[in-house]
Amino acid sequence: MGYIPGGYFPEEIALAAEAIPVGMVRGGQHGPIEHAFTYVDHWVDTFCRSQIGYATSGEDPYYNLIDVLVVPITDSNNRSISDTLSYNTDLELFVYGVPHKKSAEGCLYFRHGLEKMADRIAELTGIAITAKKIAEAIDICNREKELLRKLSLENQSGTTAISAKDYVMVNHASMLLDKRQFVEKLETLLKELQSVKVSEAAMPKVLLTGSTLAMGDNKVIDLLEGTGATVIVGEFAEGIKQFQHQVKPDENFMGALAETYFMERVAPAWFRPGHELPEHLIQTSSDLGVDGVVWYQLMFRESYKVLSHYFPEMLKKATGLPVMVLDSDYDPAETGQMATRVETYIESIRK
C-alpha cells in the first residue's frame, strides 16, 4: 500500500490488515518533474508533480510495487496527484479528505475517511482488522514514534554524532522498511549515539522547516551542513514522519487514530486559520535557542508561499531571529544561487 507521506496516513491501519505500508517519499530529482509535464501543468507543487512523474514513468520501483495508492487529500496539490493518476494510469487510488480546520466535526470527517480506507484495505488483504491486531500495530508504531522522538532530541542537541542529513534519512527509512526490523535497528542506533558525543560547533545553529522534505532532496541540508552550521530539522508538512504524539490505547481505535493524526499534530500551513504553524515555529525556535530559521518550500505550494511572506516578520517581532526563505523546484540550475544565499545567510548570523 503506497501512501503520500503527508502525515495523515496511519500506518497502523495497514499493518493491522497485514498490508505493507510504503511511503511514496522520493523526491529531489528533476527528471520526474519533466516527465510529469505530459500529464499536468507546471503550477502544481514540485513534490506532487514528482509523484505524478514517478508513477507514470513505469520505472519507479516503489510505484511498480504497490497495489493501491492512498492519497489523503490535504490540499489541491495532493488532489492533483490522485486525479491525474486515476485518470491516466491503471493504479488503484484511494482518497479521503483531510479537513482544514481543527474541530470535532473535522476530526469526525477525517475518521470517517480512515474507516472507509480500513474497509478497503481489509478487503484487499482479506484480513479483518481486529481489536487485537490494531492494538499490536498501534503498539509497534508508538514504539517507533518514541524512538524517532528520541532521535530528534539527538538532532536538537548539537552534540550528536549523527548529521542532519542522516537523521532525515532514518526518518525516511521509517516509511519504507519493515516496521519490526526498523524499530530494532533504531534502538541500536540510539544506543550507539548515546556512547559517542561530539563537541558543540562554533558555527550557527539553524532550524530547518518547510513544506516538504523528500528522500533524495538533500540540496538544502547539504548546503547548510556544508557551511559547518548545525541543522535542526523541525516541522515539515510532508516527507518527515510525525512522531511527537503517540496514539492512546482506546477501544475506539479509529477515534484514537483520528485524534492523534488529525488533532494533535502541528497543523500544516494549509489549515485555516493557519496560526498554529507560525506559533509552533516561534515557540520551537526560542526553546531550542537557534540563531536563525530556514524556511524551505517547494514551488507552487501556495499555502507555504503566502505564509512565507509574513512569517519572517512574525518571528522577528517575537524572537528577533531572521528567516531565510528558499524556494525549490528540484532544479539543478537553482543550486548555485541557493548556495550563495545559504553562505551569506549563515555568515550574517554568525556570532
Binding site: 507546471h42 503550477w43 487529500i73 490540499d75 489541491s76 496539490n77 488532489r79 490522485s82 486525479d83 486515476s86 485518470y87 487510488l93 484511494f94 482518497v95 479521503y96 479528505g97 483531510v98 479537513p99 482544514h100 480546520k101 466535526e105 473535522g106 469526525l108 470527517y109 470517517h112 475517511g113 500551513a269 494549509w270 485555516r272 486559520p273 493557519g274 514551488m299 507552487f300 501556495e302 499555502s303 508561499k305 503566502v306 505564509l307 511572506h309 509574513y310 524556494d327
Partner: protein
Amino acid sequence: MTEYNELLTLCGFEPDEIQRQRHRIETTFQRLNLGADDMDRAVLRLRTYFDLELMGVRKAIGVWLKELIDLVMARDEGKKIIYYGYPPFQYTGLVIKKASEAVGDFYVACPEVILCETLGQIFGKLNPLLEAGETGGLPPGHAMCSLLQIKDGALSLGYIPAPDLSISTSYFCDMGPKADELMQYKHGGYPVEFFDSCMDSPWGEWPAYDPQLVYYLGGQLDQLFSSLQDRFGFVIDETVWAASRKLAGPLYAATNRLNKSLVANPLPLGPVEAQLIVNYPSACTGIAMKEGAEAIEIMAEELEKRVETGAGVLPKDAPRVLIGFPSFVDPALNRLIQDAGLAVPAHSLLLGPPR
C-alpha cells in the same frame, strides 16, 4: 468633474440620477484614481466591445457601476461590511444580507468580482491592483490567484474599505483562504470566518457524493450562521431563507426569460453581453437584485424581438460552443470568441432550456 457624464449616460444612468448621486460618483472615481482619460477609455471600450444597441446591455453595465459605487462608499456611508469569497454558494450572501436588515445597515458582497466587472471590463485598469497584490505577498511567477491579488491590491491602495468580517471560501481552493489570512494580517486584523470542506471526491463518485461530506459542509454553514449571530446579532432561520429567495426571485425570473431566447438560431446575444449577467447573483446582494433584474428584463424583451425578426449576432447555423466559465475581467476575450464566428448559447449560470 463632469467628464463621466458621457460614460454614465451610455450606461443607462438618467440625468437626474447622475445629479442626485454626484457626490458619491465623484468620491468613488477620485478614490479609484479614475480621471478624464479613464472615462474616455471606458467609453471607447464599451463602444468597441459591447452591443450597445441593446438598452438592457447598457443598463446592465450601469448596474455594475452602481455596485462599484456602493462598494467604495460602504464605509463612508456607515455600513457594516461583510465580504465573501469566490466562488460563493448561491444564496449564502443573500441570506446574510436579508438577515442583517433586522439589525442595521450592512454591505454584503464579493468585492473582487465587482472590481473585475468594472475596473477590468469597463475601465481596463486592473494593473495597479494586480501590481499592488504582487508586491504585497502574492508574488508573480508563483501561480498566485489574480482574483486575490486584485482584492489585496484594492485594500492596499485604499480603493475599498477593510471589512468587519470576511467569509473565506475554504471549501474550494487553497489560495482563497490563505490569501484571506494574508489580508487579515496586513489590513488591520479584521475577523475571517473559514467556511470549510474537502475536495476529496474520487473520479466517478458524482453525483452520489458521500453524505458525510454533505453533513460536514452543512455543519460548517450552521457554524458560520451561529457565529454571525454572535458577532452581529442577526438570526438566519427558515423565514429569512424564504425572504432571501424572494429577493433573488426577480433576477432569476428575468434570467430564465432571457435564457429562452438563447435556444434561437441565429443566436441573438454574444458572450460579452451574456457575461454581464452571470455574476450578479454570485457577487452582489444589493442594487443588482432589483436593477440588475430590470436590466435583464429589458434585455430579454429586446432579444425576443430579435428572435421574432430572425436577427442574430452571428449568421444562422454558426457553430455553437459552451464556455464553462467566461472571463469577467476583459471583454476583449469574449469578443474574440464571437469575432471568430462562434456562438455561445450557454455558460455556467446561463443554461437555456433544452432545444
